[in-house]
């Protein structure tokens, strides 16, 4: 077990394409960190640089206290769980898990003990003699985890390990990985494009977009205080609504956008004044919208309902005002019908303001 530190980690491909741009991230011993971002954002490249499968253009990777930039993967004391599992098809489950230890000349009895123990934890004892081809997707996934566990590495790296599983199995395995992390108290770096996975498992999340680190923080921090519009839109499901607004010159602190009217509270108005902004991007989460009108300061949306998705307790509403779509989650007994014009509102503390140029959050919220 060890801490892992990325210092100004950069990857530039031969074509000049900058995949990872000066990534700084300090992962504490035993911490579970998710690298999350849309496909092609550089998160997998960053992970592969930690693993030693990708050359580092500049910057440093530290595992423990040692800079490992020039070490081959086998000398970095890490284990990687692949998206594709990458099990050796010609070897039994036992040999798949034992291979790494065999290559390290671990004594046989010790290997057997480690493999048996991993198999017990992952409920694979019955399958040790089978070949990967005779296993289901979920079982293969567990073998891939087992292969990592038996090595007792300084850090576990996982590259979208759940994306090939069906929805039900994914939820189940997600819990299993979380449990595994608690049990092993191991440093884990987990790459995913699915913010739900990141939110549910990680101690901290690093959001990456276009090679650049956007924000690092606990799931709660990212959800409540996103640094910028990208993080705000990426974290949370369904994602945040955004409206471009401009101040309404009637003397009051009021912003208007397409189908949206926002009466600022004093703190918000002060922030706008400090920065001299006339126009801002307003963001609000679907789960914070309520049917009705705000009493005082707050956000008001008026829109025509386009689609109603029944979720059981709640309803997911897509409402249109002009050319803009607003998504809201409201209680099912609100009895809204397609075609109705509805008025929705949100409290000031649930409204986010972003600079329209830099897209950086104006703070608060």
């Amino acid at each position: 077990m060890a801490r892992v530190a990325l210092e100004e980690l950069t990857k530039r491909y031969a074509g000049g394409n900058l995949a990872v741009d000066r990534l700084n991230l300090d992962i504490a011993d035993g911490e579970f960190v998710c690298l999350v971002g849309p496909s092609g954002c550089g998160k997998t490249t960053a992970l592969r640089m930690i693993a030693g499968l990708e050359d580092i253009t500049s910057g440093r990777v530290r595992i423990g206290e040692k800079v490992v930039n020039l070490l081959p993967p086998r000398d970095r004391d890490i284990a990687l769980v692949f998206q594709s599992y990458a099990l050796y098809p010609h070897m039994s489950v036992y040999d798949n898990m034992a291979f790494g230890l065999q290559l390290r000349k671990t004594p046989k009895p010790q290997i057997e003990k480690a493999v048996k123990e991993a198999a017990r934890i992952l409920d694979l004892e019955r399958f040790l003699d089978r070949k990967p081809g005779q296993l289901s997707g979920g079982q293969r996934q567990r073998v891939a985890l087992g292969r990592a566990i038996v090595r007792e590495p300084a850090a576990f790296l996982m590259d979208e390990p759940l994306s090939n599983l069906d929805a039900k199995l994914r939820v189940q395995t997600r819990a299993e990985i979380a449990r595994l992390h608690q049990r092993l108290e191991a440093t884990m770096i987990y790459v995913t494009h699915d913010q739900v996975e990141a939110m549910t498992m990680a101690d901290r999340i690093a959001v990456i977009n276009e090679g650049l680190l956007q924000q690092v923080g606990t799931p709660k921090e990212l959800y409540e205080q996103p640094h910028n519009r990208f993080v705000a839109g990426f974290i949370g499901s369904p994602s945040m609504n955004f409206v471009e607004t401009a101040s309404h010159r009637n003397g009051k602190a009021e912003l208007q956008g397409e189908g949206v009217n926002l009466v600022l509270d004093d703190a918000q108005a002060a922030r706008l004044r400090d920065r001299g902004l006339e126009a801002v991007v307003v963001g609000f989460r679907p789960e914070h919208l309520k049917v009705g009108e705000p009493g005082g300061p707050g956000l008001r949306v008026s829109a025509r309902i386009d689609v109603v998705e029944f979720l059981g307790n709640d309803e997911l509403i897509h409402a249109v005002s002009g050319g803009r779509d607003t998504v809201a989650i409201v209680e099912a007994d609100a009895r809204l019908a397609v075609g109705d014009t509805v008025s929705l509102w949100a409290e000031p503390r649930h409204v986010y303001l972003f600079d329209p140029q830099s897209e950086v959050s104006l703070g608060g919220a």
Binding site: A51, R74, Y85, A86, G133, G137
Partner: protein, 305 residues
């Protein structure tokens, strides 16, 4: 599943149920068996001739054996094999052929596998260009190279004192050189299908290049290596031209040269040719059936996803 497949499935199911009752199916099988038999007629005739007395060859057709099975005798095999291991005899030729074929096959399979590994999983520049040049070599006919290679052998002999011309190593080297382009082509194409993730997993597990080759890639490449070995074995085993040219004055010659030398301008010892051909066929057949089980498809199932 595509729409076409989805639509086709009920039809496929009903056809499977109907297999036993369809007369067209029976007709199809009969036709197939007839075609197969027709194809085998020359081989069968050779087989029968080899078991008929030498004197009967010019007297009655080989098919008369079906009405008079009493013709059958082991006499040809006894007299052919009876000459023992004497130089120039069939057993001597059999050994010579084996001494050429086995190393030539083993070397091509091993070198082609190694080269393909480097071409697919190596990280050096110009891999594709090298591969294209190797594939380009496939079009060079053997006949074009006979004289230049012979000259090369002589030059090598002048330089080092060992002239491979007329020796078994000389023939083996020639076969290896001409077997490699196809071998590398075949192995590379197979290795390309091995997911890169597997090698990366191996690297993380602690394997170096040699371990990766021996413990991961080679076992997965067994079906391709087996096909290559069978092809190469049969080609070299059946080769006449290279052996004829490069064994030159060597007293030991290959089976094909032995059989060829039985044909003369005005006559031929057909009983020797038929019997010798049968002896010659047995080995490749045995190899084929021995390696056949490695042709099992889908060894990669379960590697990824």
């Amino acid at each position: 599943m595509s729409v076409a497949q989805a639509v086709a499935q009920p039809v496929a199911v009903s056809r499977r149920l109907a297999i036993r009752f369809r007369p067209s199916r029976v007709v199809l099988n009969v036709v197939l068996i007839l075609v197969a038999l027709f194809w085998m007629v020359p081989t069968i005739s050779l087989l029968v001739i080899s078991f008929r007395p030498e004197g009967l060859y010019g007297v009655s057709g080989w098919w008369t054996v079906f009405t008079e099975p009493s013709q059958l005798t082991l006499q040809n095999y006894q007299s052919l094999l009876g000459t023992g291991l004497g130089t120039g005899g069939i057993l001597d030729s059999l050994i010579t052929t084996a001494l050429i074929t086995v190393p030539a096959t083993a070397l091509v399979t091993v070198i082609a596998s190694l080269a393909a590994y480097s071409l697919v999983f190596g990280k050096w520049r110009g891999r594709t260009a090298v591969f294209l040049v190797i594939v380009g070599l496939l079009v060079v006919p053997v006949q074009v190279a006979l004289i230049p290679v012979a000259q090369l052998y002589h030059a090598f002999g002048n330089l080092t004192g060992f002239n491979p011309y007329g020796t078994l190593p000389g023939v083996v080297i020639f076969h290896v050189a001409f077997g490699l382009p196809f071998g590398i082509f075949l192995m590379r194409n197979f290795y390309t299908g091995i997911p890169k993730d597997l090698l990366e997993a191996g690297r993380i597990d602690g394997a170096g290049e040699w371990t990766l080759f021996r413990r991961v890639v080679l076992p997965l490449g067994v079906p391709a290596a087996a096909s290559l070995a069978i092809f190469q074995f049969i080609w070299v085993w059946n080769d006449l031209l290279v052996g004829l040219v490069f064994l030159g004055g060597n007293a030991h010659h290959t089976l094909t040269i032995f059989l060829y030398s039985q044909t003369r301008t005005l006559a031929a010892s057909y009983w020797v040719i038929a019997t010798g051909a049968m002896i010659s066929i047995i080995v490749p057949l045995a190899i084929f059936f021995a390696f056949q089980r490695y042709f099992v498809r889908g060894v990669l199932a379960g590697a990824v996803k």
